[in-house]
Symmetry: C2
């Protein structure tokens, strides 16, 4: 079509999107390929899972986000491989897509530490489809509890286990007890939905390991006050349709959520690059793949050091920074200029606990907890939703949910209720 060099970006998450935006004034054509048609604001996925928000509140079509950037073409497609020798990306059912520079930003999936068979019973939370699957499992458990006359079965249906005490696990577990008590209790006639039991399991010695110790302790206290049973320092040895085996004992539960680990996207393996144990690509200081100066990796898929003791964490701000940097380095590389080394700027970390508590840390010194942290969390997330049409809608939904606990988004759709949805392919 044109003689301008082409940058292909795989993935429309935070890293991919920011890479595309970084190239908006570069003399290149950009092709962004994603297997879904939408960008998801991942930090709020758990709010879709817990029925506080609708999918369209936290997601927008990638091509709509980038419609104003004329040098970008967005393609919906399932990338099956990268042929680094011939500089092409392979896409299921379509002609190969050639590139001059490539940015791989395909992120991560949850990891089961060699027990992939657990996934069927304990879905993780990375995509909108995951969130809708979690929502469906949770709502169906309550629906089934209204039918059963077997007390043990009802107890198992009303036991919800969250495995993993990082921010996602804490956020998921924190909203469940009050959801059951306030939103669901008036809707059921044959059992007390408020008696639902929520158990949060963490293998390490404390919750929120990336936060200072006193913040972890505060998070635990807040969760326990909300009615969450917190168990730390115990290992999960089995997950099945019957429940979770923890510290050698079966905890009967029909609904288990997994927030315990990440594994990099399998596309990393196709790059013939050095990887760490989690499958992340060990990139050079400029985010390029060793031996392939025209291929960059950004976001959760990239393993790069922050300082002597730490790696850059798999969080949204890091993905945005890496995406932007990879985009700029790709442009430099195509223009024959020197690429630059990536430097991570820590913006702090946050997690909400239930309806109006949160914890937040900035650098190594400043920490907020409780309600002030929650308001700060709210402010930051609403601000980050700039560019999405739904900032007002999200505010409205949150205000409504906060005031009334109505949770009108509790729809089981479009799956047949008799057949809970599997994870996405």
């Amino acid at each position: 079509m044109t003689a301008r060099p082409r940058v292909v970006i795989i993935g429309g998450g935070f890293a991919g999107l920011h890479a595309a935006r970084a190239l908006r004034r570069a003399p290149v054509d950009v092709v962004l390929i994603d297997r879904t048609n939408h960008h998801v604001f991942q930090p709020l996925l758990y709010q879709v899972a817990n029925t506080s928000l609708a999918p369209s509140d936290i997601a927008a079509p990638i091509r709509w986000i980038l419609r104003g950037q004329r040098n970008v073409t967005v393609l919906l497609g399932d990338v099956t491989g990268v042929d680094a020798a011939s500089h092409t990306v392979l896409v299921a059912g379509e002609a190969p897509v050639p590139y001059d520079a490539l940015i791989v930003a395909t992120g991560s999936r949850h990891a089961y530490f060699g027990h992939e068979e657990w996934e069927a019973h304990a879905p993780g939370l990375k995509t909108l489809a995951d969130a809708l699957d979690m929502r469906q499992r949770m709502l169906l458990a309550f629906e089934r509890a209204e039918w059963t006359s077997d007390e043990a079965e009802r107890r198992a249906l009303l036991t919800f286990v969250v495995v993993g005490g990082g921010p996602t696990g804490v956020e998921l577990a924190g909203t469940l007890p009050e959801f059951a008590r306030a939103a669901l209790r008036p809707d059921f006639r044959r059992f007390d939905a408020g008696a639902a039991r929520v158990v949060l399991i963490e293998g390490g010695p404390r919750l929120l390991a990336a936060f200072p110790e006193h913040v972890s302790a505060r998070a635990r206290r807040d969760l326990e006050r909300l009615g969450v049973e917190v168990r730390t320092g115990v290992a999960v040895s089995a997950v099945s349709a019957d429940g979770v085996t923890v510290a050698g004992e079966l905890l009967a539960a029909r609904t288990v959520f997994w927030a315990a680990g990440n594994a990099a996207s399998p596309i990393g393996r196709m790059l013939d690059a050095p990887m760490d144990r989690a499958g992340r690509v060990l990139v050079g200081p400029d985010l390029a793949v060793p031996g392939h100066p025209e291929i960059f990796v950004a976001g959760d898929l990239a393993a790069i050091r922050w300082d002597d003791t730490r790696w850059v964490p798999g969080v949204a701000p890091a993905a945005m920074q890496m995406g932007r940097h990879a985009g700029r380095n790709a442009a430099r590389q195509l223009q024959g200029a020197l690429t630059r080394a990536f430097r991570y700027v820590n913006k702090g970390e946050m997690a909400t606990i239930g309806r109006n508590r949160a914890v937040a840390v900035f650098g190594r010194r400043v920490a907020l907890t409780g309600r002030p942290a929650w308001f700060f969390w709210l402010f930051v997330h609403i601000m980050y939703l700039v560019g999405f049409r739904n900032r007002l809608s999200v505010l409205l939904q949150w205000g409504y949910a906060y005031l009334t606990f109505q949770r009108g988004v509790r729809l089981l759709t479009p799956h047949d209720p008799a057949r809970p949805a599997g994870g996405p392919a």
Copy 2:
């Protein structure tokens, strides 16, 4: 549990919900069974299909709607049969549910006039799952057009055929051209989305056969001005993956929507009752099944005369009126009182055409067209959404869509984009 007689209602649509509400002060226990967990505001389903609204804008959990009515228990279940002899309803995977009186309000599905194999290529619009399926097919056609380099294939991908010129067909077809022109055109780089072709096919001599002739003519003119090709008096003889064969000629199209006919829910057949050709149950004047004074049928599943020349139409107001009446008659029957005959009160009929035109008729005399009819349509629908949490949200979305054409609800989820969703089971 209690000695009060039990009324079982099958179906949580307009008829079932209004039957339950009519029983709120009756000395009975009510059990409402539906195969989904939500009530859908069906007249706005086409707005979910065309991406103007999110599913949660027009649907709410049935148990949430009825939470305040303490004599109702809501159960999520797939009814597989009715045993009229033993007075029980059979539900897949659950114990049979006994009843003293039964109200069947399971509605209708689309009919293909003996060509059920057409359904795979031309889905209809009755449920949220249907609407999401339509949305997905439409959006995927545009996505695929961005990939293809074959001009004939691209033309077929950009040809959208709507079969059936009743209100649903007119509403669906009317919004497509402007959606393609205004919402999608800026998002694609390799073709002009505004060149999408929309064809509306009606076998009868005119659109909107239930409306006066001058209203039909106005609707046709309005649609043609929007860019819809309207073809009346032509028969569809085949529907396949290649397109629609109409008047003996293949119209190449990858996306076909069916709005041409209804068939009553198969549950009607289980009642051992007289039926009409469409499978509707020929009920007595009190909506009871002949020979079964304890079984009532309400809504689209019931066939009952309006006057000497007409049947009560399959529209939402008729379903609400029948549901209410069936509920009251069930209570009368259980108390040994005489049931009363149903009388349909016509509230008029409406259909929108594109973004700001509509037609509306009241009785045989009054008709509105154009923009006044559209504002009236808007007012009536917003008013009917009372009781849903989302009246404000719908207004906001419509306002936003009307002003900006952004259609942020354009998400392909949660299906794998490579595998278009089939219809619901």
